[in-house]
Symmetry: C2
Subunit: 192 residues, 2 copies
Amino acid sequence: MNLSDFLKQFVSFPPEELEDIISHFEKEIVQKNKTLVNQGQVCNKLYFIEEGVGRSYYLKEDGKEITQWFFIEGKFMSSIESFFQQVPSLYYLEMLEDSTIYSITREKLDALFAKYHDMEKFGRLLSTEMLTRVVNKLNALQFQTAKERYEYMLTEFPNISNRVSLGHIASYLGMTQETLSRIRRHDTPKKS
Amino acid sequence: MNLSDFLKQFVSFPPEELEDIISHFEKEIVQKNKTLVNQGQVCNKLYFIEEGVGRSYYLKEDGKEITQWFFIEGKFMSSIESFFQQVPSLYYLEMLEDSTIYSITREKLDALFAKYHDMEKFGRLLSTEMLTRVVNKLNALQFQTAKERYEYMLTEFPNISNRVSLGHIASYLGMTQETLSRIRRHDTPKKS
DNA sequence: TGTATCCTTTGACTTATGTCAAAAAGTAAA
DNA sequence: TTTACTTTTTGACATAAGTCAAAGGATACA
């Protein structure tokens, strides 16, 4: 999915607005393993992924990485609180495949929000959609068993398991990779 | 904090817009233990709490309640995904104290978003603020020890522990009330 | 096509947290 | 106050999941 189609999913922009909006994004081709943002750095860009996969991850004191979110093609990617609140990012953002992305700075985005009521609406709808997705993960972590969490993840990120490593997925789900490996093998590690 | 001050925190509305917006809210005085929304029901209202505390909670098959969020005075309360996506709510919404709240329906809110660019901006900023708060909880649940999660909660909901029961807090933090009780007593139940 | 590296699985053991049950403390009602 | 009810704490025990370590597999590179 390209950026224009993505924008139109949320709001039916007049063609000239759409063109103006898109002209403020920059296309970038990035390689696998490229880090877009470092922990501690303010994330000043919002990225749209046309093709590829990325993730945000947190680095613990003991050196372990914990995946916070996956970002796939047709979605926006950013260190959410850092970008919106302009505070240092708790996460790294990195691409996990060679990818085609479009980026826009906070300043340009704010200018577009101020310029077009439609764009402001898009921003609102995008935020509420992200909010819904984050709440779904929260629910999975808080109410569900390890097995159910794994299934939730497959609906949120279809066939992600063929694209990223087991360890990345396990930490996203709040478990070790050994536990996830055991869950996958014999469907369930517990009684049920 | 009243509704007018809350709105002004985010956007500096012209006085007549502010007045129009506020006129679409309805004031309600509700008693402790009042349920605003049932699980399975579409939540059609957004509530602003002028005074009081509420929570959203999920009811498991085994009859246990799990608190998903607390809502205190000066904040909006709703079953977020249900309200924004108009799907059945996974949660109950209930007040935990006698409270003064203001409500607005989805229809009226949408009309205000369409009418005023400022209101649309408010909606966007409110969503991103909620998003940030939900992400903070997600981080707490995913990266932090039981003790750290308890401390995170105290910063998110100052002195909530004097207002709601231990059991509600424990389930919010994804632990049993016995565990929380032990954490509180001897600062930490683990090595550190 | 072999060598190095990375990723996944498996096993043995440890530990944090849950479960169940009962006692203690706190609060409200008569 | 006494009684009843709710909430919190404590104890003994069970268990899901983590840790550490090593063996297999897979993949990339040279």
